[in-house]
């Protein structure tokens, strides 16, 4: 009797799982259709540039899912575009964590991929450690150091976009006070603030920066609080570069009816009338540059590339209607100066206006 009831319970459990599970699967269905692993490309799809006899094999590691709407998704989209363009044999592993990243890297290296790429700053040390064990395999990382001749690291300047945003802000402010909300007071943040300050000063020597920070990458409420305080203090343009908090900064601008500037992705849809522009950080470019560098042989391995406006990693999103042509022209001039290397890297130990 008892045994039978247990069996029944299990049968019901199995039935339930079988019934529930398909409902849960349509979500991952979409990416898998695009998963190209082990699928030989049709001969007609081979572009003239690719060698038909041997496909290049590229493996990419992400630390979140490819549907994260941010960093990993940018990398994944870039990977798929590269795959189609160069007929690559690609594979990827998502949601890899710190504890297993070295194993994943080694597995890929042992499976004979031409390029093993980790699209995550946090994996920089792991990539360098594993690269030492596989001198014949090329490694890439969206990170800050390349210790071995078979590694390339690609990072952004993290300030050039803020400089251009500063140019816009300096020209558009009426009160000469621009608020900037970042996550912290780290050296990276100081450099960003100073870049914005220099940019604003370029055409408006009276421009001041009010710097505030939230202490967290995902605190939307804090972002809004900080921006609201700055607006009360006289700022008429708020710039948010504080992760998810940026949405809060724009929210504050909406409440007060002042202009805002977004960061990393185009934030214009949040407030089309008020978001003048956003300084875009195109994370997918790292991977594109690494793969194309390997194909064309023009990337130096063993080197850390710090990329910015010139390389197309950082740029401003399309301006909204509030930005006059005169301002757009001046930003273009500043962009050209940046590309020509005429803009100095700002200091990162303290605020420029305190150092002067």
């Amino acid at each position: 009797m008892k045994k039978l009831s247990v069996l029944l319970v299990i049968a019901v459990l199995v039935g339930m799982l079988a019934a529930c599970a398909p409902a849960a699967t349509p979500e991952p269905e979409e990416p898998t259709e695009a998963v190209p692993t082990q699928v030989a490309a049709e001969p007609t799809a081979v572009p003239p540039t690719a060698e038909p006899e041997k496909q290049m094999r590229v493996a990419v590691i992400f630390n979140t899912t490819i549907k994260d709407g941010g960093y990993a998704q940018d990398g994944y989209n870039a990977l798929m575009a590269l795959k189609d363009k160069y007929n690559l044999d690609v594979s990827y592993q998502e949601s890899v964590n710190d504890a297993t990243v070295k194993d994943v890297l080694r597995s890929y290296a042992a499976e004979g991929y031409d390029l093993v790429y980790a699209h995550e700053l946090y994996f920089t040390d792991a990539v360098n450690e594993v690269a030492a064990e596989f001198p014949d395999v090329k490694f890439g990382v969206s990170g800050y150091k390349a210790d071995y001749p078979n590694v390339v690291a690609l990072d952004s300047t993290n300030w050039q976009g803020a400089y251009l945003a500063g140019v816009v802000a300096g020209l558009m402010t009426k009160t000469n006070k621009v608020a900037m909300v970042t996550v912290s007071q780290s050296p990276t943040a100081y450099r960003m603030v100073n870049a914005m300050y220099s940019g604003a000063q370029l055409y408006n020597p009276d421009a001041e920066i009010i710097h505030l920070f939230t202490g967290s990458f995902d605190d939307v409420v804090k972002g809004k609080e900080m921006a609201t305080a700055a607006i009360a203090g006289g700022a008429d343009i708020v710039y948010g570069n504080c992760g998810m908090g940026t949405a809060g900064v724009i929210e504050a601008a909406k409440d007060a009816g002042v202009y805002a500037i977004g960061s990393v992705v185009d934030r214009n849809p949040l407030a089309p009338e008020l978001v003048l522009t956003s300084n875009i950080l195109d994370n997918g470019r790292y991977l594109t540059l690494a793969v194309e560098g390997l194909i064309n042989g023009d990337l130096e391995w063993g080197k850390t590339y710090v990329l910015g406006v010139k390389e197309g990693v950082e740029y401003l999103a399309p301006f909204n209607a509030a930005v006059p042509q005169d301002v757009i022209d001046k930003v273009e001039l500043a962009t050209q100066d940046m590309i020509d290397g005429k803009v100095e890297t700002p200091a990162n130990e303290n605020y420029l206006w305190l150092l002067e």
């Binding site: 799982l17 699967t25 898998t32 194993d103």
Partner: protein, 369 residues
Amino acid sequence: MSELTNIKQTSSTFKETMLRFAKNNMGFVSVFISVMAILFALLIGALLISLVGIDPWEAISYLWKGSFGNRYGFGETLTRFVPLLFSSLSFTVAHKSGFFNVGAEGQILAGAIGAVLVAAYVEGLPPVLHVTLAILAGVLFGAIWAGIAGVLKILLGSNELINTMMLNYVAVLLVEYLIHGPLKPADSYLYVSATILPSAKLPIILSKTPLHLGFVISLVVTVGVFYLLYRTPVGYQMRMVGANLKAASYAGVNIVGVTIVALVTTGGLAGMGGAIELLGTQYKVSNGFSLGYGYDGIGVAVMGRYHPVGIVLSTLLFSVIRVGMGAMQRGAGVPFPLLNVIQGLIIIFVIASGYLTNKLSETVIGGRA
């Protein structure tokens, strides 16, 4: 209703035959049920995989190809084996001594913290001594972490299930705090602890793989744990307390003393697992250091039926699943969320099979196997 009665009647003779067979071959039957549970889970997994348009047999074959099909995978599987084995040993000791330790996750982290303090900051020691001291520090910290729940239980009678679980969260946040502040090297961009010194690293025992000496240590410790439980007076008392607290008390067993020994052992084992994971593969403490080894260890111990051979085999199975899942993603492109579902299915089925085996042995033998 009448149909159900019919089934019962027609199956009664069949049932009797099966029960007689089960009674005579309980060991075989319990293994058979476990294996069937895994096959069932994989079957449903294969169905789900085919629904997203991937060849299920190719995908499932990567479970084997990734874990034992090549040299690196083999080494990786046995490396994943180590912390999981310690975790399940920890749960086994607690279970045999009559309390429920779901805090192995926290104790692993505590052990890693203890070990990194010695391994990264104590300089100038010869390797053997350095490794030994770092492991002992891990044991100590793990034991203290379990000891907190133990003291609360002994002094206040508070439930160790809740306390050990709560302490997991405390440990996670403690690690978070430490890697953001005191343990973070000044020149590091990232929030991780300092890297351990070369003299504290466990040697690799199979070249071109991550397999380290901790694997051998884990097997030796397994023998030691079961020797303690079944061949020593303390172990006998621990099992007595676990089986029947009142009887043990009546027989003059020092309940408090035995409970303390059991807690120190269970926490120490988990802490040792954390220390060896640190010294053998990860070399630094990061945010996702433990990956749920503490929780998986419970499933492993239940599936292994608290038996040394059973535990080693089920640990191996869980390691194969962990490593093979990565290969399924890399090789066949199975999406990560779906892998989580399949992993969950396997665990549910295995635990259900443990329940089924228990019920069956109660029916045929009249007691727990």
